[in-house]
């Protein structure tokens, strides 16, 4: 390729990339710098911001009565959702990988919740959890069990919202399925030749070869579920007793309800660092658990 053609190709490439780059710069990078700046100010959005240095961060770690509750409730939600959700998505993917009648239909059914608008889904779930007339309590009642205040009780609110999130794990199921279908049949046949059973195939072939996929899904779902927001906003509003005051909702509340945009920015920076740390820990701790074919 001549130098002229190469540079024309490069220009074309940059032009195609431009929308994505501009989007990233203006909607991601610049706002991040903006948040860093705002985090150093006291700003109620109604008057000019006042520079207070690290004052917001000092308050956050020494004087904020909601911060710890918010972090623990977020971690609880993420842990509950990721652990159960990973098992659920993996098992469903294994089942959907079998040769069963209506496999395509089942795959669509399990994927569908992922593309349902989250606010709409949250409202429907809230109705199902409704204590007096909700379908879940109706079923419990009809088999002789007591009604449960799913969303009004500290002990059940986060698990109830977690189940809602797990229901939407369709995208992870699809990724597991793709991973399962990428496992060469010859490996599985080799186990059979050696006299191995289904468990041996799963333990020694499927699981190791899928480990990078599991790692990817776990990492993505940890990040996504630490950022849980919609159910707190649309259903519980942080109640009961702060048990669903998840971090992103807390940031939103500080900013848009209490008009503390500077403080909300500081909390989001700490939250950003927190997610980065969790991601790094997952990376570091899983290095020995992953199996890459060809290494």
């Amino acid at each position: 390729m001549s130098a002229k053609r190469r540079s024309r190709a490069a220009i074309a490439a940059y032009l195609f990339l431009a929308p994505a780059i501009l989007g990233l710069v203006f909607y991601t990078f610049l706002p991040i710098f903006g948040v860093v700046g705002m985090g150093l100010t006291e700003w109620d959005a109604l008057k000019a911001p006042k520079f207070i240095g690290l004052g917001n961060f000092v308050e956050l770690f020494t004087d904020d009565m909601f911060f710890v509750r918010s972090v623990t409730s977020t971690l609880y939600f993420a842990l509950f959702t990721v652990v159960l959700g990973t098992v659920y998505a993996f098992v469903v993917a294994l089942l959907l990988n079998q040769r069963i009648a209506g496999r395509g239909l089942f795959r669509s059914i399990f994927f569908l919740p992922y593309i349902v608008p989250s606010i709409g889904a949250a409202i429907v779930w809230a109705w199902m959890y409704e204590a007096n007339f909700g379908v879940i309590n109706f079923v419990l009642n009809s088999i002789g069990l007591d009604k449960v205040q799913w969303l009004g009780n500290e002990a059940t609110a986060t698990p109830a919202l977690g189940m809602m999130a797990i229901w939407g794990f369709g995208n992870y199921i699809v990724i597991y399925l793709a991973g399962l279908q990428g496992i060469p049949k010859t490996y599985l046949e080799a186990v059979e030749m050696d006299g191995g059973n289904a468990w041996h195939k799963f333990r020694h072939i499927t699981l190791p070869l899928l480990s990078p996929v599991i790692f990817f899904n776990v990492l993505m779902s940890v990040i996504a579920n630490l950022q849980v927001f919609v159910p707190a906003l649309s259903i519980t509003k942080g109640a009961p007793n702060g048990s669903t005051l998840y971090m992103v909702y807390y940031i939103f509340k500080q900013g848009f309800w209490n008009n503390r945009f500077g403080y909300a920015s500081a909390v989001s920076l700490i939250f950003f660092a927190f997610i980065a740390c969790v991601t790094a820990i997952i990376f570091a701790s899983s290095r020995n658990l992953l199996f890459f074919e060809g290494e």
């Binding site: 008057k47 004087d63 109640a239």
Partner: protein, 444 residues
């Protein structure tokens, strides 16, 4: 010039003239919320069209926002420097905007002989910064059939006959039933399986402190300068309220309460015999179940020491940033005229704002003597007189940052309502933070 050309020139000149005339109109933007359906916004738009057609100097454009995202939207517009000229504000936001010097002084907006009730004025540093769009008071509602069946007298409908707390609890006990039909007065009463609660005094964040005022305490002094929630009278009232569930066993737990359906269904299905809530329930909720046989009654709140209730109502605000303050005021003056909100007022959702509607019986009957409101004689003493003589303002009428104060106050309050801690210990645990927040935010 041919006829066609003449016609064209005429049409062009006419269009230019109309365009110029339209351009001369002062543009005013008005922002408001709609609760559930777009039809509410359409109703408001129809009213604005009426205003626009009624005169040729001002043209109002409506910005209708769903109720849920309203505060977010207003704050975002404020941050972006794009506030509308005038708006409906949520009660908790009003003084925050006033403290940021964004709300215009509206004290001269109405002529003295056609002014709103003083009790509906949002005030910051002595200046009126908004008037409620409607008047509301807290009341005691009850299911008449349950009282008739138990042969009990109805709760009092006038402030001078207000029940003491003991009288209230005694009646509530007689109306509380477990699944075996036993009351808390009977041996073997099963408090874990109550099917009919005798009473529910609303523990909603802004409502419950009224009982502290009734005991000589309260949330803060009416001038917003002194925090009262730590006073022994306030703590005692809070504990008394918590004991309705914990000790007296006549009220639902907060979790059960949160799961109750709307007030009309709660009363209709005999879940609760007496419940406190706002005047608006008559037009928003209770009216829906009249056709199904609901016979509701209304009375005044029980008292600890003195008969008192809260009054409230979301205010209209006019932003100082507006370039058309006079036009915005003209519109709000027209918009807030009761005759333009007549359906909501006669339908039981709102009580009028202007003092003239309370001036004599004929004026009161004109708006109040209609179903779904109860018979006028009852409504007059239980609601109108009560509102005129026994109501105090919710502190969001004068305190900057009521929402933030409540964030601290409500942070672990369920533990008090559930009996896991006492009101005394709880208030002691949060008092330093409450006091600091209060001192930082009171008007200086």
């Amino acid at each position: 010039m041919t006829f066609a050309k003449k016609l064209f020139v005429f049409a062009f000149l006419a269009a230019a003239f109309i365009g110029t005339a339209a351009a001369q109109k002062t543009e005013v933007s008005y922002m408001c919320w709609y609760n559930t359906t777009q039809s509410e916004a359409q109703g408001n738009q129809a009213l604005i069209d009426k205003y626009n057609a009624s005169q040729d100097k001002i043209h109002v454009t409506m910005i209708a926002i769903p109720r849920d995202g309203y505060e977010t939207k207003v704050n975002t517009m404020a941050a972006a420097g794009q506030l509308p000229d005038c708006t409906l504000l949520s009660e908790a936001m009003a003084i925050q905007f006033a403290a940021a010097d964004l709300l215009a002084d509206v004290s001269s907006m109405y002529p003295a002989d056609a002014a709103p009730l003083k009790s509906l004025t949002f005030t910051y540093k002595g200046k009126a910064v908004g008037y409620s769009s409607g008047d509301e008071v807290l009341l005691l509602y009850y299911n008449k059939k349950l009282f008739d069946a138990a042969k009990l007298p109805y709760p009092p409908a006038s402030a001078d006959k207000t029940w003491t707390w003991k009288q209230f609890v005694d009646v509530a006990k007689k109306l509380t039933k477990d699944k075996n039909g036993k009351t808390p007065n009977d041996a073997g009463f099963d408090a874990k399986n109550i099917v009919q609660y005798g009473a529910d005094f609303n523990r909603l964040w802004w409502m419950w402190p009224i009982i502290a005022y009734s005991n000589g305490g309260g949330l803060m002094s009416p001038d917003g300068q002194e925090l009262w929630i730590g006073k022994p009278e306030s703590i005692e009232a809070m504990q008394t309220l918590a004991d309705l569930y914990i000790k007296e066993k006549v009220a639902p737990s907060v979790a059960d309460d949160a799961a109750m359906p709307s007030l009309d269904l709660t009363l209709l299905t005999n879940k609760i015999a007496m419940a406190t809530s706002g005047q608006w329930e008559m037009g928003v909720s209770l009216n829906n179940s009249l056709k199904d046989g609901l016979e509701y009654g209304v009375g005044v709140l029980p008292k600890l020491k003195k008969a008192v209730t809260y009054n409230t109502g979301a205010p209209y605000g006019i932003f100082k940033t507006s370039k058309n303050l006079d036009a915005a005021m003209d519109f709000i003056r027209w918009w807030s005229d009761e005759k333009n909100q007549w359906t909501n007022i006669t339908g039981g959702i709102l009580m009028p704002v202007m003092a003239k509607w309370y001036a004599n019986e004929a004026a009161m009957r004109e708006w109040a003597d209609h179903p779904p409101r109860p018979p006028f004689a009852i409504y007059k003493t239980a609601v109108i007189d009560y509102a005129m003589h026994n109501a105090i303002q919710v502190p969001w009428y004068y305190f900057n940052g009521y929402q933030g104060l409540d964030d601290i106050l409500s942070s672990g309050i369920d533990a008090v309502w559930n009996g896991k801690t006492t009101a005394k210990d709880y208030i002691a645990s949060i008092m330093p933070k409450l006091q600091k927040y209060f001192d930082d935010h009171k008007a200086k």
